[in-house]
């Protein structure tokens, strides 16, 4: 009983926050679809789902996400092997650099890809602009980092002895990989695949900036229906489809997620040098570097282009509102807003995430308790799957009347961003807390330490680095968040991604140049944060 109360007390704050700022908005959005003029009317939802355009949108979402996932795995798994199981100079730097794309703002990536493959771009002759291939490439750009990270971490801690035993029994390297290594990696690969699929299926910024009018995913379609066509019912119907699909996917994911076993024999053997036999890893890593490097290079080059020459004019223009007053505030103001918002979002998601991580990793005494913790774990992963657009739109329609009137509150944006970052924070902290031997806490308790003191003695020393890493992660995610923010940011207080999106939409070479320069600034800031995080060497960062 006492334990149940303690569990409830710890979970109360995150649950309340999740209830008001996540469940309520999402339910508001869902009910928008089912109720017409106060009447329960499910027929409207069915009507929307019968539209041919909706079919096209759903089909595009499924196949582009599948293609993105498959390609991410194809490139990511061999690259993970090279980067985590082989030794070569510059390995750590390369690993850090390849983690950056994951937190790059989606808008920035969209801009970078357009700069690369657009009509005037260096790869313009390929005619990829506005094509589905470009969208899939954009999805892979983001998610290959997730695969490398998750699979690499698992691979690194894999006990090499079974593979050695198989080799000693006469198995060739290929045979060892197929019969021993791959089965052991399967949980990590499956969970990476499902998370990547999730990210691909809910990608917003990339599809919006690269897809133009020809291609639309469920996520962008919700956005267009709400903001351009004002067809709220259709938007709600699509949200429901997305919610159901993604919740089921999350349930599957949580089943697949390998439970880290602290008693597992961890190998810290020095990885061997790169040899010729590593050609698949070398090839994949090379392709990933090209895929990640080219758009970024094109972006930087474009931002420095002024007329026919090169210069810093685009950067100098960042303290203006653009040509023909494209913006309400200068870009530099938006940067300050972005940083302030990110600070708020970081402390919010960090304190919530810490509570959640503690709640879900404490040892359970009964099956009911274990179930309750498992359920909470899944619940706090939901923001990972529910589209940021749905969340942002839900905020708009539910939090605008008493008792929860936050419409004008400047905290609305950071709260939404904190919720978007929450699953990542929890996934960074929970494995570390779960890896702490519970008997350490018991030893502290038997020496007379209360729960708080035991936490300070046992958990905190193991946690401060992951906490810092999670903070950096949340900060970077908040800086780049576009989906929810695009609904919630006030016109006079836009964040940097919003400003960039506005600048692309306004005609004028000057505005476009400024968008590129602002993108470079934003990318540079998030990359810097991520590189600092990587220096902390927390294994669970970015693995789900």
């Amino acid at each position: 009983m006492r334990r149940a109360l303690a569990l409830a007390a710890l979970a109360a704050v995150p649950l309340a926050v999740l209830g008001v700022f996540f469940v309520l908005p999402v339910l508001g959005m869902v009910s928008e679809g089912f109720w017409t003029d106060g009447r329960f009317d499910p027929a409207a939802v069915l009507e929307v789902l019968g539209r041919p355009r909706v079919h096209r949108v759903v089909w595009f979402t499924v196949w582009s996400a599948s293609a993105g996932t498959a390609l991410s795995l194809l490139l990511g798994v061999p690259a993970a092997h090279l980067l985590h199981r082989r030794r070569f100079p510059g390995r750590r730097v390369l690993r850090a650099v390849l983690l950056v794309p994951f937190v790059l703002p989606t808008v920035v990536v969209g801009v970078a890809f357009r700069e690369l493959i657009g009509e005037a771009g260096p790869l313009g002759f390929l005619g990829l602009d506005g094509s589905a291939a470009a969208i899939v490439a954009g999805l892979v750009f983001f998610n290959v980092a997730v695969v490398i990270r998750a699979v690499g971490a698992a691979w690194e801690s894999l006990d090499p002895r079974p593979a050695e035993a198989a080799a000693a029994l006469g198995a060739s390297p290929a045979h060892v990989f197929r019969t021993v290594t791959l089965p052991m990696l399967r949980p990590a690969i499956m969970s990476a695949a499902s998370v990547v699929f999730l990210f691909c299926a809910t990608a917003f910024g990339v599809v919006l900036t690269l897809g133009g009018l020809r291609y639309s995913s469920v996520e962008t379609e919700i956005y267009l229906l709400t903001t351009n066509l004002l067809d709220l019912q259709a938007a709600a119907a699509l949200s429901i489809v997305q919610l159901v699909a993604i919740t089921s996917l999350l349930v599957v994911t949580s089943r697949l997620r390998a439970v880290p076993d602290p008693t597992l024999a961890r190998s810290t053997a020095r990885p061997p040098r790169v040899s010729r036999a590593d050609w698949p890893g070398l090839l994949a890593t090379g392709l990933v570097v090209v895929l990640v490097g080219l758009p970024v290079a094109a972006l930087v080059a474009g931002s420095l282009q002024v007329g026919d020459g090169y210069g810093l004019a685009n950067y100098r223009a960042l303290d203006t509102v653009g040509s023909r007053s494209a913006l309400l505030v200068p870009v530099t103001d938006a940067l300050v807003t972005s940083l302030r918002t990110a600070v708020d979002a970081t402390w919010m998601s960090l304190s919530l995430g810490l509570l959640v991580a503690v709640v879900v990793t404490r040892r359970s005494r009964s099956r009911t308790e274990r179930r309750a913790r498992g359920l909470l774990d899944g619940l706090f992963m939901l923001p990972l799957g529910v589209s940021a657009v749905t969340l942002g739109f839900g905020f708009l329609i539910t939090l605008d009347r008493p008792p929860v009137d936050f419409r004008d509150s400047l905290l609305l944006v950071p709260i939404a961003q904190a919720l978007v970052a929450l699953p990542l924070v929890v996934r960074t902290l929970a494995p570390v807390l779960g890896g702490v031997d519970d008997r350490q806490r018991q030893a502290a308790a038997s020496l007379g330490a209360g729960p708080l003191r035991a936490f300070l003695t046992v958990d905190l020393p193991a946690m401060w680095k992951p906490l810092l890493a999670a903070a950096g992660f949340a900060f970077a995610v908040s800086l780049g968040e576009f989906g929810a923010t695009s609904f919630l940011a006030r016109e006079d207080h836009p964040t940097l991604p919003i400003v960039i999106y506005h600048l692309i939409g306004h005609p004028g070479a000057m505005n476009y140049g400024m968008a590129l320069a602002a993108s470079v600034v934003l990318a540079g800031t998030t990359a810097l944060v991520m590189l600092l995080v990587e220096r902390l060497r927390v294994p669970s960062v970015g693995s789900f």
């Binding site: 008997r439 350490q440 030893a443 038997s446």
Partner: protein, 329 residues
């Protein structure tokens, strides 16, 4: 004084400890001996307050401990692998509980404790730089720091290698005696229990099957299974038991537990038999002998004798290595 009355502990509805009753007087060391999976660790965890009791009670000096959390029980728990705090030095580990209670002069007490466990001068070392035995000594010092009213030891020596285990078991007994500590130890190792404890409780399948003074339990196992677990090699019953007891000059009983060294090859003796096999050990020769009228039994012979398979030998019985037990089921 620790009292367990009809204690039952369950994991997800499956009982791990069933109806266990125990009493441990102040100043005594009780070993709970049982094979793995017998529920002995669960019993210890329940006493520590880490598992709730499904039924029955645990009390100290007559006060029921239900609802008293681990950190308020004043029972120190020492784990099989020490569970030292890796980021704290030896001195800070040992002084951990002292700092919690803001004990004045903690540094002197830490030095005293380290001297007690034979680790003078180890104050500034980190746990990772210690050997397994040293770590267990530090863990013991840490547990003893605030003079707990009860020390709980969970297989304290099992993680160590054989030679070290023997030495440390003697040290542990001496340290516990010197500190006058009341202790409850769970172990699966008979030698460890015999060396450290003065009271013994035997657990099997979640139940306490026998308890009492350690020598008494050894002398009179409650049933054949307990006898076998306590290190007796075989349990004879019926006419075979009668024949052996007669040869030993004891009164007849329905069953008797026999240690491996109960029969000794001699020039002449009350029993005779044919050697089935032999094995030389550093101290003596261990034989299996087909004893006339009884059947196969273990026996020992001095190193300077050379009985081979098929040889006829005479045997005497060492009555102190037999234990009369109630008949098996």
């Amino acid at each position: 004084m620790l009292t367990l009355a009809h204690l039952t502990v369950e994991y997800d509805g499956a009982p791990a400890v069933v109806d266990a009753s125990l009493a441990l007087e102040d100043g005594h060391v009780l070993a709970v001996l049982g094979p793995s999976g017998s529920g002995k660790s669960t019993l210890l965890r329940a006493v520590a307050g880490l598992e709730p009791a499904a039924a029955g009670s645990i009390s100290w000096d007559g006060h029921d401990l239900a609802g008293v959390p681990t950190h308020r029980r004043g029972f120190a728990l020492m784990f099989q692998d020490g569970q030292l705090f890796g980021h704290l030095t030896v001195a800070r580990n040992v002084g951990y509980a002292l700092r919690l209670r803001r004990t004045p002069n903690a540094a002197a007490r830490v030095r005293e404790l380290l001297a007690l466990v034979g680790l003078e001068g180890y104050e500034d070392r980190l746990p990772a730089t210690l050997s397994g035995g040293e770590r267990q000594r530090v863990a013991l010092a840490r547990s003893l720091a605030v003079q707990p009213r009860l020390l709980l030891l969970d297989e304290p020596l099992s993680a160590l290698d054989a030679g070290l285990r023997e030495r440390l078991a003697t040290d542990l007994r001496d340290i516990l005696r010197a500190a006058g500590t009341t202790a409850l130890m769970v172990t699966h190792d008979q030698d460890e229990a015999f060396t450290v404890a003065d009271r013994l409780a035997v657990m099997r399948d979640g139940r306490i099957v026998q308890q009492g003074d350690i020598a008494e339990v050894w002398r009179a196992p409650a049933d054949p299974e307990t006898a076998l677990f306590l290190g007796y090699a075989r349990v004879l019953s019926g006419p075979r038991a009668g024949a052996l007891l007669r040869a030993a000059g004891l009164r007849e009983a329905p069953a008797v537990a026999v240690r491996r060294s109960a029969l000794v090859v001699a020039d002449r003796g009350p029993l005779s038999g044919t050697v089935v096999s032999g094995r030389v050990t550093p101290e003596l020769i261990r034989l299996v002998v087909d004893v006339d009228g009884i059947g196969e039994l273990d026996a020992v012979a001095r190193l300077d004798t050379h009985p081979g398979a098929g040889d006829r030998v005479a045997l005497v019985v060492d009555a102190s290595r037999l234990a009369v037990t109630p008949a098996g089921h």
